[in-house]
Amino acid sequence: MEVWGALIGPLGFATKSLRRRGFHSYLAFLGLTLTVATTTFLLLLGQDLATRLGDDSSMRSTFGISWLIFAYLVLALGLIGIVGLLSTSYLVSSMISQRMRDIGVIKAAGALPRRLLSYVTFEALLVIVSSCLVGALSALLAYTSWSWPSISLFKQVGPIANAGATILIVVPMISFLLAYMVASVRVRRIVGSSSVNAISKQLANLDLKSLGKPLRIGRFGSTFNLATRNVSRDRGFNKTLLSMGVCICLSMIVLSGALVSADTSASYVVRAMPPHVLIVANSNIYNQYVSLATSFSRIAPLPPIDYGNESYIISPQNASAFRAIPGVQTVDTRLITMSSITGYVKAHFASNQDTGENINTQIIPEVDTGSINALIVGINATSAIGDWYTSDGFLQSSDAHYTMIAGDSLVGNIVQTPFNLSQVSALGYRYDVKSALVDPLNAGRVLYTPVETLQKSLGLNGFNVLLLKVNSDPTVLSAVSQLANSFGLAVGSQDPILNSNLTFLNGIWSHIFLVPIITLALTCGILLSYLATNFSRRFNDYVILKVLGANAWYRLSLLTWEAWGVLAISMLIAIPLAWGISIFFLVPDPNLSLGDLELSTLVSLSALSVVSLASATIYSRRLGLTTVKDLTP
């Protein structure tokens, strides 16, 4: 200690000052470290999830759903970055504000502004550098100790990716630069202002515009009135409200966005594979269809099968017989086959007239976009069971015979956008691609075309799969089974397949939900820092109230109003904004569940309220231990 005590200059000043300010230095260091650590860890976690998801998407899930999850992760990571930067900026600003009086005193004592600037900035730098280093190390430790093998749905369990290493360096670096900039600007401003203002800390922190209104006892009582004055007369109140509002809003978007995205992705699956549907087919085709339908959630090799085998074909008459069973609402007659397909972008004219240059039309020749094995489903547009999420609608009876709807996993490689230029060659014919849909069948590598067209191509007159939409009456199944047995066909419910796919999807989201939960924890940390800073700053006022006779309940009530009031106003701004963004901008064709939005609001409100109440209770208890001797002049 003597070694430090003997030092002079910025380093000696900074170390002595930080050591002697004890609790406040520790609080500033802790707040900043937690912010850097949490932001870095969240970004590492997010990019890791996104990378693993990207690697895995070729095997399971579908492109559309993976894209939705990926888009959510990218958005969440962006918002987390903003929250982290806001928090860093706020914490550093608060830290420097606490030094305002000391800076004023040293300046008034005759210190040269340049020297003063270097002393105080150096002190801030010590906290910032140590926080960024410890924060980055903590994030790395948390990330590497994360139990990745437990995430069985991801096939790749490996070391930190390159992107992770970049995040590990860049996030603390940006935090450091931002913190340094904020500290420099704040210190320069204080050094540049009048010493008298800086010394009179109380006056410098108070907003004088709202003075003069009588202290009326309103509906919420005396403590509410007093809390309102305390908070609203804080000069930094608007800035605090904005920072808190933005942080809460962004964390709520991350949270409600996860809920909306999870429900929407599940709704895409349910829409493609609705419940209360029976699959009727020859047992070989039945097993194959089940494998195709569960390939969304399971890696299992598909055995080769001759889809067009005569023994698998169900005649139109037999199919019609199922319609006659009471309780059968719709019979979706399908002919499925697996075939190699080739994608094309049609030859077309392209001009640069949109750019305002001279019209210079040119012909772009046809482009081959590659080949892949895909499931082709011939379907009757009018009796299709399924309400897929599509880009431009499903097949219509008015569509041309050689029209196809592409599964989402074919989009972007075999099938290019715009769809009106995209064609697919299959079974010796060219089909125009009309639209794309999200479909778990064969993990999205599927094409739908009118069944008559496919029958013609394969030279078959019939179907090999029937999907029956039935009511919930259990007797329907036995009636259908009876008829199917008489035709030598197997029957099974589609519900277990749907459940298996939904369980898989929930598994992915349950891991991704870690991101919004930790984001909420980060926001709670920011709120805690704000409350700790403000309670500490006004502590003398609270002690005065205690001395004057304010009882424990009055003190707790005052602190609670102050803490919860700021939160309530911030949430009033944040909630509608977050809801609006989550509903209208986050995902296409969202599955709107009021329960999701209520849940995200309730979770955020509860977590933040707990932080507010806990802070108020802790400070109230601390206040209970004070005596009149703790009053400072």
């Binding site: 108070l206 003069g212 202290l215 006892i217 009135n225 804080d234 003398n540 005065i544 109230l545 424990a552």
Partner: protein
């Protein structure tokens, strides 16, 4: 006296403060430090009591025990009939807000409230919920201390003397029978100090309050009906000026 839900009607007639063999010990760094040792003193209602002595003599500790902010380690302390030792934190707070007015050397006004709000706050702490009456009374008190034109200023915008005048108005805002003042002129110059002394004299003369004042200021000592000399935590002597004895 203002009534509260916990009003204590066990007052010893005529005595505002009654200390019997009161001692107070603090533990500092594990070692006991004696702040007061077997003090017996009493202050009658309507009297001005001055507690004098060098710094560290225990003056503020006496004041804190009277206010119920601290409890004696030994002995019996009764204030307006309330046994300080036997009361819990909640009832002491209620007692303080209804019966005691405070004036500090460092003013100790709530920094976020204006002069008039600081005064009105005391009425709210005492449970007076008629805001119209509170405002009117606040106006009168602010006028009494001569700060009408500074009523809507924050403490940081007021001079030391002005802040102390607000503190006096606040001390009597809830109409307490007992006013405690801890070196009220200690931070003020001669002239401003005199204004405060005059105000304190008015509290006694016009309002009939009991005042217990710790002070080094001779002008306050001259005004006192009884003077307690403290030295090293012990009561050295008790003086009653001739005008009082006569």
């Amino acid at each position: 006296m203002a009534s509260t839900d916990e009003e204590i009607e066990v007052r010893a007639p005529g005595l505002a403060v009654d200390f019997l063999d009161v001692s107070k010990e603090y533990i500092v760094n594990g070692k006991p430090i004696k702040a007061l040792s077997s003090i017996t003193l009493n202050v009658k209602e309507g009297e001005v009591a001055a507690i004098v002595g060098p710094s560290g003599a225990g003056k503020t500790t006496v004041l804190n025990i009277i206010a119920g902010l601290e409890k004696p380690s030994q002995g019996e302390a009764r204030v307006l009939g309330l046994d300080v030792n036997a009361s819990n934190e909640h009832s002491l707070s209620a007692f303080r807000s209804a019966n005691i007015g405070f004036i500090f050397q460092s003013y100790n006004l709530v920094s976020t409230l204006t002069a008039e709000e600081n005064v009105e706050l005391m009425m709210e702490l005492a449970g007076w919920s008629d805001s119209g009456r509170n405002e009117k009374l606040t106006e009168e008190l602010i006028s009494m201390v001569g700060l009408t034109d500074r009523a809507k200023h924050l403490p940081a915008q007021l001079s030391g003397g002005e802040q102390q005048r607000v503190a006096i108005a606040r001390a009597i805002a809830n109409d307490p029978p007992l006013i405690l003042a801890d070196e009220p002129t200690g931070n003020l110059d001669q002239k401003t100090g005199l204004e405060i002394v005059k105000l304190l004299a008015r509290l006694k003369g016009e309002k009939g309050k009991t005042l217990v004042v710790t002070t080094h200021d001779d002008r306050i000592v001259e005004m006192a009906d009884v003077i307690f000399h403290l030295e090293n935590g012990s009561l050295g002597s008790i003086d009653r000026p001739a005008r009082v004895r006569n």
